[in-house]
Symmetry: C2
Subunit: 330 residues, 2 copies
């Protein structure tokens, strides 16, 4: 019996050892949890794709940007613009989103007139959709994306400066075309531009969006765009409009800041009238602005709130001579 | 003997328990260490005073700023300016650094012409020193400091806008007077302004400092300034100059960014000629600019490196009408 009794503690100690190690393991697990919880997570949570590096970035790709240009029914303008962009500093690659469904891409013409230092990739689309340009293209190797409409020409100098500004505000849309929303007394929002009075008191104006038809933004946002509610895609496809408004909502939600930073362009021009196709952009449609106000209100419902914030900041290049003979109008 | 033997495990278990708890305690200590180490420390380490709230901030003090103005031999201008600042929105308090050693402060005149909504505190100094204005004044209750020279007038609109910009760049000096340093081939630095060619390639100019004689900055930097090497104070006192250059070094070191953000003023004027004292500022001294280049090189030695970074960003208010009849020159 004594013998028996005296064996007991041995087992007890075995159990203690077991309990001891398990407790230590639990503590360590808690540690791991606490650590991950306490890491500077605000940014990570809100903009995973800005911190993650999905593709290994080659050195040039770090101080460079990719031009994404969607084109429809303006191949003559497209070729003019592609020529212009061959000479832009820091341009890593051009991705042309080819919305001319069933039409042959002008690759032969392009190659026959080479050599071209900046590679151009044509992405042939099967459906002519506004949001085709907002795909997370596998060819995209840079963190910086320059998105341009196929009827807009911006001077190389403006692009170089805006890129340097984007590098200082990589979470935001840094571009040349500001817009705003206004809340009416009824609570319904109106979309517009300079013609609308900004709510901010005092002199001056404000903006709450920067259009992506002439802007730099982080490629991570293209990844984020793939994760939006179906209703957002439906809205864009139904209207063939508002993809840029949706992007501003996405960025404002991610950052909690104003979605855009407006860089005052020295020379930006609309080339629409230069096309032989005679095709004029979607924004000439009578319902264009009505649609955009409609989209703002729809997006507020979808995202259950208005994330857009106003900004009154306009950035221009210090000491840059502003030629009087420049047409600054768009 | 059995009894004796059977007691043993008890003690053993006591020791185990002791060891167990001590191990847990050690693990927990390690956790604590790891946590503090892993907290987002870059900012905290570099700018403790921007994160710390040394004084409990009253609600108004959070959306307000304190004007610190040093005055010497220009009491007539001082009173003009104090009148102007009574009407500035968001101004919480005025701290006048009274460098007229032994002279009576104009408090009676000031009070006899009241009431004055914004309190004015006169800080009588015992020595006439340039760096008197860079004390961590106990009367300072706001995070934002507006520092102005006693011969400079900036429009209320410019101040209101610049304050809103500072709230978006609280780590930097947000002001109206940009300057730059240039590295000569010999490695010696030269201090200057627009007349010097900026090293950056391309058109436009750059700046690497924003003078604190007309700027907003975080009150935490006044605390930081008290912790600088003695050699910095000696340099400022020896030259009666360069306190603003030293502040730009301090901020650039703290942030790793450009020390300043330049806001283009719509109306800023120098009132120096309006004083009856006939006193003209230190910067008229023949050696003024030579001293400032000398200071830049000295500070590089003291801080063992050149922390100043260039910026080409100029901020102005979006949509603000720029009156042609405004004198924009300083």
């Amino acid at each position: 019996r004594y013998f028996h009794f005296c064996k007991l503690p041995g087992r007890v100690m075995g159990i203690r050892l077991l309990r001891f190690t398990s407790v230590v393991i639990i503590v360590l697990l808690l540690v791991a949890g606490a650590l991950t919880a306490l890491l500077p997570s605000i940014k990570d949570d809100k903009m995973p794709n800005l911190r993650r590096e999905p593709k290994a970035l080659s050195q040039p790709a770090l101080d460079a940007f990719t031009l994404i240009m969607q084109t429809y029914n303006r191949t003559d303008l497209l070729l003019k613009l592609l020529n212009h962009y061959q000479a832009i500093p820091h341009l890593h690659k051009v991705i042309v989103v080819w919305n001319n469904v069933g039409e042959k891409i002008p690759e032969d013409t392009w190659n026959s007139l080479g050599p071209h230092p900046v590679p151009v990739v044509f992405k042939v689309q099967t459906v002519n959709r506004m949001r085709n340009r907002l795909q997370n293209f596998p060819e995209l190797e840079t963190k910086a994306v320059l998105m341009m409409d196929d009827d807009t020409l911006v001077s190389a100098h403006d692009l170089a400066f805006a890129f340097s500004v984007w590098q200082q505000f990589p979470e935001q849309i840094v571009g040349f075309v500001p817009r705003k929303h206004i809340s009416t007394p009824s609570g319904v929002y109106t979309y517009g531009s300079f013609e609308l009075q900004s709510p901010g008191s005092g002199k001056g104006d404000q903006y709450s969006m920067v259009l992506i038809g002439a802007a730099f933004f982080h490629s991570g946002y293209l990844e984020d765009f793939q994760k939006q509610p179906e209703a957002v895609y439906a809205l864009i496809d139904e209207t063939q409009n508002c993809d840029d408004i949706a992007m501003n909502f996405l960025v404002a939600k991610n950052t909690g800041k104003s979605s855009g930073v407006f860089v005052k362009p020295v020379d930006i021009r609309n080339l629409e009238k230069d096309t032989n196709s005679g095709y004029s952009g979607m924004w000439h449609r009578a319902e264009h602005l009505l649609q955009r106000s409609y989209c703002v209100n729809k997006l507020v419902n979808i995202y259950d709130g208005m994330p857009l914030k106003y900004s009154n900041i306009m950035i221009s290049q210090f000491g840059f001579p502003n030629y009087a003979n420049h047409k600054n109008k768009m």
